[in-house]
């Protein structure tokens, strides 16, 4: 209650707000591409490496004190790019991408640790960007469980319907699946519609407690 009042007063004077913004989602939905886009737009450098091989991000990647300037206010964010959440990690799937058995097993081990780490971080984020791939069916258990957890914890969430530049993209399907949440369609890769996302971050974010 006090935090909200304080937040509102800060906002009145256009003061800086600082939030821990977690980028969550299943694997290969474009979380790091989105984090890189946000970081490039406002801090001039990338957060991490991207890859077509699942679980490229296996550790929480941070970019601290990224300042987003909106019309009437500035927001300071600590950007947290999370490992993809998954219910399975099979080293054999990495082998198909040309990794040696040893490297694939190492990647699988790190990936499972990364999932656990990402889940633990749910206790520490102020706002979440739940990234979904617009070309895929959004009704998968990862998305449902993630959103259910965020609702139960009362953590503000913005659904980012990513990859809208692709022909197969159906952001409308995401809107229909989760009508109770704000949804912004973007192409993190092409930088399409990012301004709308920044406005939404300003509108729905919760200040760090």
């Amino acid at each position: 209650m006090f935090n909200r009042l304080f937040d509102w007063l800060l906002g009145l004077f256009g003061a800086r707000r600082q939030i821990k913004l977690g980028v969550y989602g299943a694997t290969n939905v474009g979380k790091t591409t989105l984090a890189n886009r946000i970081s490039l737009d406002w801090a001039g450098e990338k957060v991490g490496k991207t890859s077509v091989i699942p679980h490229e991000t296996r550790f929480v990647q941070k970019k601290e004190r990224v300042e987003i300037k909106l019309n009437r206010k500035k927001i300071l964010i600590n950007l947290l790019d999370m490992p993809g959440i998954a219910t399975k990690v099979d080293y054999r799937a990495f082998r198909k991408h040309g990794l040696s058995r040893k490297s694939a097993k190492k990647r699988a081990r790190e990936a499972t640790d990364g999932v656990v780490e990402a889940i633990k971080w749910l206790d520490n984020v102020d706002t979440v960007l739940a990234v979904m791939d617009s070309t895929q069916n959004p009704l998968n258990q990862i998305n449902i469980t993630l959103l259910g957890n965020l609702e139960a914890r009362k953590i503000p969430v913005i659904i980012v319907a990513n990859k809208i530049d692709l022909k197969k993209a159906k952001p409308k399907a995401i809107r229909e699946a989760f009508p109770q949440h704000p949804i912004i369609g973007v192409s993190a890769l092409k930088g399409k519609n990012m301004d709308e996302l920044y406005d939404a971050i300003g509108k729905y974010s919760r200040r760090a407690g």
């Binding site: 959440i85 219910t87 990690v89 099979d90 499972t112 889940i119 633990k120 009704l139 469980t145």
Partner: protein, 140 residues
């Protein structure tokens, strides 16, 4: 006698899972799934428990067990039922809080109305979900 190869499906009443604490329930599920069974129950875990199930699964992943596939269909709750569910949530939180105060680490939550399928990722190739149904493709 020749041992038959096939798919084992365990239908477990939610009352069995309801009697268990959170940790015991997750262990029960994972033991069944790790042994190759698909488990179907007439209830759904709450979202926090589902996240704990994913976390625990990741800790158990090895070369022979790549993880699980899970799908739940929660019965939509409206009006009075929704209020009862929220009341149950709060009641369980308070009970667990007092258990923790007394030094007991027992977390009890009851399953919500619905249907859940949990199976080994090695066996389940794909789950296609719609708002009110899902279909499962398995390898036998």
């Amino acid at each position: 006698m020749k041992k038959l190869k096939g798919l084992k499906i365990d239908f477990v009443s939610s009352s069995i899972l309801d009697r268990k604490t959170k940790q015991k329930r997750i262990n029960f599920i994972l033991n069944k799934v790790k042994n190759g069974s698909i488990l179907i129950t007439d209830g759904v875990l709450n979202y926090a428990e589902e996240m704990d199930l994913i976390k625990e699964t990741m800790r158990k992943v090895d070369n022979g067990f790549p993880g699980i596939e899970v799908c739940g269909l929660k019965k939509p709750t409206k009006g009075l039922n929704s209020m009862v569910e929220r009341f149950t949530d709060q009641k369980e939180k308070i009970q667990n809080f007092f258990s923790a105060l007394r030094g007991r680490k027992i977390e009890k939550t009851s399953l919500r109305n619905g249907l859940t399928l949990i199976g080994p990722a090695k066996v389940i190739r794909e789950i296609k979900k719609n708002p009110n149904s899902f279909s499962v493709l398995t390898e036998v």
